[in-house]
């Protein structure tokens, strides 16, 4: 059951309609070319040697035997990857420090996690490359390792980086620490708030790292030519970012690197980084041949970044009437081997759906001997949200107030602020909560051993840099080039927005994703920003074309351009005696009357705004085994305006199911040596089709005033409340609080047996 509820006028031609996506036929026939589907003449095969230890000094690396193997053309170690000084403050959200990236790409002084890349070879076949890396001899001095963020934060813990001293604490520490920084935000007077509260709830939560779980492993081909130019074909969410990172890391001019984004087989934030690209560049430079590097599934788990595992503590106080008067939380995020977990977002995600007068949130960025974390769909938000939402549900229980009513009472309003101080414009929170309350799922009866969970999530979207070029072809069709890899159906939405502006049929618009050499900078397809920011740039570009078409018609008619309007795909004028000129007609005239018509836009979009997603989940727990089955799931989310409702629903459903996996069965399992035990989809347990029910969706539309069509991002909000909603459902099914994800059957059965 899928619905769209809107509060604004909708007389759109294409926006909001269910339309066919342009990349569809290629994908259902197997023609679409993903990272590993490209071949280049003379291609070599690259393979990476990875550390078998969680923490060790590298004493020596001897690559001579590998180099001597017939068929091996080049070998790379850290000696071939430039070093960079440590980044100075201020630090952005998920820190991209070239000093760290250089070492993550290829270990330098130490290996810091099981799977850390140590060396790589390029050979004439994969078989030879695999044999070659086995011949590389590395001498290690094994060091004690630490995997848990709380343990890593204690004095006396094994230290990953001797140069790292905790930022954000006073006085400045003298001893190095695994805690890179502590960030916090607060408002009001916490002490007074808690003193006033009629009731206080305190909880503790834990979670394990979870991987984005994209089905396509990282894959790329890099080809360097003798004149210094480099081309990269890679599966990525942001080829401009890849270009920038490679150029800066390898001390090359940006313009000498051209990156083409392949079709991408899932990203969810995990393909915003470089892993093998710099190594492949170097291998290709040494051999003057294209070098392909494809990760195996176990390399993806060992060597790419998951979302942080966490430990959090939270305390919330409320009055008897439901007003939440004080809220305090702290969370330890595992950063993995290098600093940069999304602490700012964690701080912002606890309480930002609510107007709480006295609130404080603190987050710790803690290095541990695990792969460096990467963004995962609303990075930093899901675990902080879970902590707050489950605590609020407990408050509701103790106060005997309906959980949605409690939230409505405390809901942040238009013009309010997040805890980090981000200002909300018009938001759809109240509308979402009302929709929940009135939804049949919310009041449907439950059977024995079943429980219902509810959670609300908030996410502040990104805008940022997007560039678009739109060209009007002679025959009246329009080619639109963006710089954003399509991970969720954005080509479809770009086409809809362009067709809407022009007032013509969808079929006339051809969207493509261009390479970095063809156009201006576009930031990642991430942060739920693409439909918003790139969409805005598309609209701007098409509006520029329309301006030129009006001018062309005016020229043709010899009337002032102010007398020419663009309506329903035609230039029209109120003056007598002029028949409308169609897009096709004007396009045919253009090159004879001044030149080809194009529009372009390079923007730094602001005003993306916040969106809210609320989720209702029913589960059934087998009391004798702890097995959880999902019975019913509803996602209610404010999309601002759903350009392509099918794809908005798809985002909501996909995020919900990732949340189910996060809550129930996904985790990284390490042995006592710090080596990863579950490096495949057998034991990294993501939901399969028989694990989940239909995911019902309700798209609420409270248009974002900062976008021409009212768009809000939709990609990230669906994951934010999902693990919390599922965890809450399990708690209610068994009548016991649980706070340690994943809620796998042994944990649930253990809790049940404890209470018998």
């Amino acid at each position: 059951m899928n619905e769209v509820k809107t509060t604004a006028k909708t007389n759109f031609k294409w926006v909001g309609k269910r339309t066919r996506r342009p990349d569809g036929p290629d994908k259902v026939t197997g023609r679409a070319r993903y990272g590993d589907d490209m071949v280049m003449s003379g291609m070599l095969y690259g393979k990476t040697l990875r550390s078998p230890h969680a923490h060790a000094k590298i004493l020596s690396i001897d690559t001579s035997k590998a180099e001597a193997l017939k068929g091996v053309k080049a070998v790379v170690t850290h000696k071939d990857i430039p070093d960079h000084p440590l980044l100075e403050p201020p630090y952005g959200p998920m820190i991209a420090d070239l000093h760290d990236i250089s070492r993550n790409v290829m270990a330098r002084e130490k290996v810091l996690y099981d799977g850390h890349a140590v060396a790589a070879v390029a050979a004439t076949s994969e078989r030879i490359a695999k044999a070659a890396i086995k011949l590389i001899e590395v001498e290690y001095e094994i060091l004690p390792h630490v995997l848990d963020p709380l343990a890593a934060a204690q004095p006396g813990a094994p230290i990953l980086h001797e140069h790292q001293f905790t930022h954000g604490v006073d006085p400045k520490p003298e001893a190095p620490s695994n805690v890179f920084r502590v960030v916090s935000a607060e408002r009001g007077d916490l002490e007074k708030g808690f003193a006033d509260a009629d009731i206080i709830v305190e909880r503790e939560f834990r979670s394990e790292p979870v991987h984005q779980g994209y089905i396509e492993p990282q894959a790329l081909i890099a080809t360097a030519s003798e004149d210094g130019a480099v081309e990269i074909w890679t599966t990525t969410q942001g080829h401009f970012v890849i270009r920038g990172l490679c150029a800066r890391l390898m001390n090359m001019d940006m313009s000498s690197i051209r990156v083409t984004a392949s079709e991408i087989g899932g990203g969810f934030g995990g393909k915003n980084n470089v892993y093998a690209e710099p190594v492949a560049i170097r291998l290709s430079q040494k051999t003057s041949r294209p070098v392909r590097m494809v990760m195996t599934r176990s390399e993806v788990f060992r060597g790419t970044g998951p979302a942080s595992g966490t430990y959090s503590r939270i305390r919330m106080g409320a009055m008897r009437d439901g007003t939440i008067v004080a809220a305090e939380a702290e969370i330890y995020n595992q950063a993995g081997a290098f600093k940069g977990s999304p602490v700012g977002r964690s701080v912002d995600s606890f309480f930002s759906s609510y107007s709480i007068a006295n609130a404080k949130a603190t987050a710790y960025d803690v290095c541990v001997n695990r792969p460096k974390v990467a963004a995962y769909r609303a990075p930093g938000a899901p675990m902080a949200t879970m902590a707050a939402e489950l605590t609020i549900n407990e408050l509701a229980e103790k106060l005997d107030i309906d959980p949605v009513d409690l939230r409505m009472k405390n809901a942040v309003q238009d013009g309010g602020q997040s805890l980090n101080g981000a200002k909300y414009g018009r938001i759809g929170l109240t509308e979402v909560l009302e929709t929940v309350k009135n939804h049949p799922h919310y009041s449907a009866p439950l059977a024995p051993n079943q429980g219902r969970g509810f959670a609300l999530g908030y996410w502040m979207h990104g805008g940022g840099l997007s560039s678009v070029v739109a060209n009007l072809l002679d025959d009246g069709t329009v080619a639109i080039a963006t710089g954003n890899p399509d991970i969720g159906g954005s080509r479809s939405s770009m086409r809809v927005m362009a067709a809407e502006e022009l007032g013509v049929d969808l079929e006339l618009i051809k969207p493509i994703v261009a390479d970095t050499g063809s156009m201006g900078y576009s930031h990642l397809t991430a942060g739920s920003r693409t439909t918003f920011a790139t969409g805005m740039a598309v609209i701007n570009s098409v509006r520029e074309i329309i301006e030129k078409l009006r001018a062309l018609a005016a020229k043709k008619w010899e009337i002032p351009v102010d007398d020419v309007a663009w309506e329903a795909g035609q230039a029209v004028t109120q003056r007598d005696g002029f028949e409308a000129l169609t897009l096709k007609q004007l396009a045919g005239m253009a090159t004879k009357m001044g030149g080809a018509i194009a529009g372009h836009s390079e923007i730094n979009a602001g005003g993306a705004g916040a969106a809210f997603s609320a989720q209702i989940v029913d589960v059934e727990v087998d009391p004798e085994t702890g097995f959880v089955s999902l019975k019913r799931y509803t996602v209610i989310q404010d999309a601002g305006r759903a350009i392509s409702p099918d794809y908005v629903e798809g985002q909501m459903q996909g995020g919900a199911v990732q949340g189910i996996g996060w809550a129930l069965n996904e985790e990284y399992i390490y042995d006592d040596k710090g080596c990863l035990q579950n490096l495949g989809f057998l034991d990294y347990r993501m939901p399969v089709a028989s694990d989940v029910p239909m995911i019902d969706t309700v798209i609420v539309e409270v248009p974002n005033p900062n976008h021409p069509y009212g768009v809000r991002g939709v990609g990230e909000p669906p994951l934010v409340p999902a693990p919390g909603a599922v965890a809450n459902a399990v708690e209610n099914a068994i009548g016991k609080k649980m706070g340690s994800l994943p809620l796998s059957p042994p944990k649930i059965l253990g809790t049940l047996e404890l209470c018998r």
Binding site: S298, E624, T625, G626, F627, S629, L664, N665, I669, Q677, N678, L682, D683, R685, P687, V688, S690, D691, S744, P745, P746, L749, G750, E753
Partner: protein, 286 residues
Amino acid sequence: MRYEAPETIEAAVALLAAAGKTARVFAGGTDLIIQIKEEMIEPGMLVDIKKIKETREVILDDDEIRIGASVTGAELGENKELKKLFPGVVEAVQLIGSDQVQGRATIGGNFCNASPAADSVPALIAAGAKAVVAGPNGTRTAAVEDLLIKPGQLSLAPGELIISFCLSRPPKNTGDAYLRFIPRSEMDIAVVGAGVSVTLNPDGTCAAARVALGAVAPTARLVEQAPDILLGKELDERVLAELAAAASATCQPINDKRGTIKFRTSVAGVLACRAIKIAWERAEKN
């Protein structure tokens, strides 16, 4: 590595005997190919037995039922007669992996891979199956449980391979069942497996019972006390409680990435009871 596809038992035995430890028997490959790719093993030769007709047949004689070692899960599931006779054995093999894996995974391969958690094993043990083993010294049969030494290893001599499994045609009022616990609904290795076979007396009490557990010890094992608990009795709450306790006591599990000792021990009791209820109901209907 060499690939051979002999067409007779004798040819297969000769190849295996000559190649010794470097040869591996290859049927569905759903374990073997993974082990080769992950470099856990490096065989010098793969002996594909799928062309040997004795390994591909299901023969339903008056006294004996023979299931070829390289019959796939999908094929077992399509054999209506076999499903009626040994629903437990068939459903066990059918739980292995996805439908795609079912098209390849074989009853013999699953057994011979000898994972402590293999689904076919408890069901075959409960059904009293014997393995027909061919080797350089001829053919022998052995109770399947006697072939299990330790994880990944069977007591087969060099050159020997399992050709088929033979089961006695079950007497009237016999039913078998297999249940396993996995954290998802599909696609997991069993955390606990329970295979049960019961035969009932005309008065509805138990005449014979075999209860076998998988994934709770280095090899699948019988719950030794099960016959004592069940023989001559009806399936009441007290009997079930005793059976559950005996099943839990039989466990010698480990903590690993799939389950804890505590969890496996508890759930073994739960599954043994659930499985016997199903087997009992099937026995009543036969």
